[in-house]
């Protein structure tokens, strides 16, 4: 039973990171039907910015939690700037182009950002400081769940509640929902659609950056390539949950994380990915729009 709980918590931790990143994919898709392949790179940039900020703050003598908060905030700000610019440079000019064009542009941006970090920073693995301290009260159960996992779970939960409130109760949230339903109609009633899209990218990037900082601090290393695999997994999670659906992305992330954890724990880690993607295929056969996705008729 203890083993089950350990695997469950491990899966939940991994799943909530997937969920954080998946939200960015699903929100962007919901509004402009674009799969933003460069989203994983935003996550990676978030982690890198936090790494650099940590280095600087350590020199100035800051400590643990204060570094985590400042580095986290700066990582979010930077990633938001990247996300905003990305949309402006690579996707907005292609707004009315055929759907494949922005997709190719997204793949191009992904490759560009990876290599940009590779050249501007380093191809090496860098040690990321363990910003989350070991809490005293956690010590007796540290082998089941450590403080980094706890922080990840709590942060993810808080972030998601805030996101839900933002979408449900704020003006921009309402505008986002309106744009998602019908872009030209939203424009007609006076919603600045371009601003809504930019905001969506910014929010998605912020979530990815939070995920990036949490993961980097959890596993203790950053590299220019970490965004690729995380991006693929998060995209899978988004599709699993029903792309375009916000609760779907969260559910998809958690389901994917738990599946991987249990597959590795009870069967074999050789088959971790086999089970993760097998599940995706299965769900897409049974529910082509994903777990919580609504099948929409394409207007031709």
């Amino acid at each position: 039973m203890e083993y089950f709980i350990e695997l469950f918590l491990g899966g939940l931790t991994r799943g909530s990171i997937y969920a954080l990143i998946a939200l960015g994919y699903t929100m962007v898709y919901g509004i402009i039907q674009l799969i933003n392949f460069a989203h994983g790179e935003i996550y990676m940039i978030g982690a890198f910015v936090a790494y650099i900020v940590c280095g600087v703050l350590t020199i100035y003598g800051f400590h643990g939690v204060s570094i985590l908060i400042i580095a986290g905030l700066l990582a979010v700000v930077y990633s938001c700037a990247y996300g905003y610019t990305l949309e402006k440079v690579a996707y907005r000019p292609l707004r009315n182009a055929p759907r494949l064009s922005p997709l190719i542009s997204a793949i191009g941006m992904s490759i560009f950002l990876q290599n940009y970090v590779l050249l501007a920073q380093t191809p090496d693995f860098l040690p990321f400081p363990a910003l989350i301290p070991d809490f005293e009260f956690m010590e007796p159960i540290a082998h089941i769940i450590g403080s980094p996992e706890l922080v990840i779970l709590v942060t993810t939960l808080v972030t998601m509640i805030m996101l839900t409130l933002l979408i449900k109760y704020t003006k921009i949230g309402k505008a986002m929902r309106a744009t998602q339903q019908d872009m030209s109609m939203a424009r007609l009633v006076g919603i600045n659609v371009d601003r809504v899209i930019s905001t969506t990218f910014v929010i998605g990037s912020a979530l990815a950056a939070i995920g990036g900082v949490l993961v980097a601090s959890y596993i203790g290393q950053v590299n220019f390539y970490i965004g690729f695999l995380a991006g693929v997994k998060a995209f899978t999670a988004a599709v699993l949950g029903g792309i375009g659906s916000v609760p779907g992305a969260v559910l998809g992330g958690l389901v994917l994380g738990l599946t991987e954890s249990f597959a590795a724990g009870y069967i074999s880690s050789d088959y971790e990915d086999v089970f993760a993607f097998g599940l995706l295929v299965l769900i897409l056969i049974l529910r082509p729009a994903g777990i919580l996705g609504r099948a929409t008729k394409q207007k031709v």
Partner: protein, 371 residues
């Protein structure tokens, strides 16, 4: 009378034909390897090593009072050419052969030398089967075979650390998986410990918490990991976070400063195998200096191993007192010789004892060689 004459003539003819070998006033050392083509950089340093050794020995009066003659043949690392090379060296009357370089070419040529009863010593062919299959009793090498690292790791885990339950993980790559499979095989064969877990992990995965929990669940004494440092860093960090005492032992791919840099405190106490530090062996530095003096550049791949092989072969002939196959074989297996790769002799299968890898441990942020 007539019959006697004929017999005499036959005898004379026989003697005349046999003269080149019987009345040989030189010891013939064959050198085979790629000396042209794209793999030449692997063969030329060993050839130059042989030339340096022979020059030095000849200057001191040769072996058994005879000068050593080099017979150099190019096999381009190609098995089909290697058989021709071998035939040629046999016909030229080579007493011992230094070569070949590539495992494939070596394997192709070995049968021919075996039939001709010529000891062969490679500085570089690492395929385990060449010695372990027992098919080539005339074969020796001055480099560790591919599985030597795993063998050393397993022996260390079982004999020095007293591990009973061994978890073996790999990164699914050729290098890591090869190491892990050999390690599993050696643990199984030892009979003193059992493999309680053998799995591959996905390189670059977000975290390895499930597999780490699994290692804890099977209560492994030691984790043997085949792979590279990024995954190793994550594994040791997560094991430390789970407050586990399981020892960590890995391969050459982890013996990289990045491992210590990235894993930090979690790397402390981790074991890994890696090539022995040869720089402390005086002969090693001397051989390098000799090469630099002769060619004005740093020696390339397998130079030290080639130098050692040439020394070992000629030393064996000297000790055996003849070029007789059985005597030379016995000398190779019983007489120690000081070479640039250490003081070596060969085991019954032809692998040099004491050559190759050492176990290292991370101590105070440094790799410390455990003797």
């Amino acid at each position: 009378m007539k019959g006697f004459n004929l017999l005499l003539a036959a005898l004379v003819a026989c003697v005349t034909l046999a003269t080149p070998t019987l009345a040989a006033d030189t010891i013939k050392l064959g050198v085979a390897g790629p000396h042209s083509g794209d793999l030449a950089p692997y063969g030329i340093p060993a050839m130059k090593a042989a030339q340096l050794v022979v020059k030095k020995i000849n200057a001191k009066g040769g072996v058994l009072g005879k000068q050593v003659e080099l017979l150099i043949q190019d096999d381009q690392c190609k098995p089909e050419i290697a058989t021709n090379t071998a035939t040629k060296l046999v016909t030229q009357g080579a007493d011992v052969v230094l070569g070949h370089i590539c495992s494939g070419a070596t394997k192709a040529a070995l049968g021919i030398y075996k039939d001709a009863k010529i000891p062969v010593m490679s500085p570089s062919a690492t395929n385990p089967g060449l010695t372990q299959s027992g098919d080539y009793p005339n074969f020796y090498r001055t480099i560790a075979s591919d599985d030597m690292q795993a063998k050393l790791a397993v022996d260390f885990a079982i004999d020095k650390l007293g591990a009973k339950k061994v978890a073996v993980l790999h990164d699914k790559g050729d290098y890591g998986k090869g190491f892990a499979e050999f390690a599993k095989k050696f643990v199984d064969e030892s009979g003193k410990a059992e493999v309680v877990l053998f799995e591959g992990i996905t390189p670059g995965a977000m975290d390895y918490s499930s597999i780490v929990q699994k290692i804890r669940r099977v209560k492994a004494d030691i984790l043997i990991f085949g792979g590279y440092h990024p995954e190793a860093s994550k594994l040791v960090a997560q094991m430390k976070r789970k407050r586990m005492k399981t020892a960590f032992l890995s391969d050459d791919g982890v013996k990289d400063v990045s491992f210590i840099k990235v894993a930090g405190a979690a790397a402390e106490g981790a074991y890994m195998t890696g090539p022995r530090d040869l720089s402390t062996i005086p002969l090693n530095a001397a051989a390098t200096a000799e090469f630099k003096a002769a060619y004005g550049e740093d020696p390339g791949a397998f130079f030290q191993e080639g130098y050692s092989a040439a020394m070992a072969l000629l030393n064996a002939i000297e000790k055996a007192g003849s070029t007789d196959y059985a005597a030379v074989t016995k000398a190779l297996q019983t007489q120690y010789v000081e070479t640039p790769v250490g003081k070596i002799k060969f085991d019954g299968k032809g692998d040099a004892e004491g050559v190759g890898f050492s176990v290292y441990q991370v101590k105070g942020g440094q790799f410390a060689e455990l003797k």
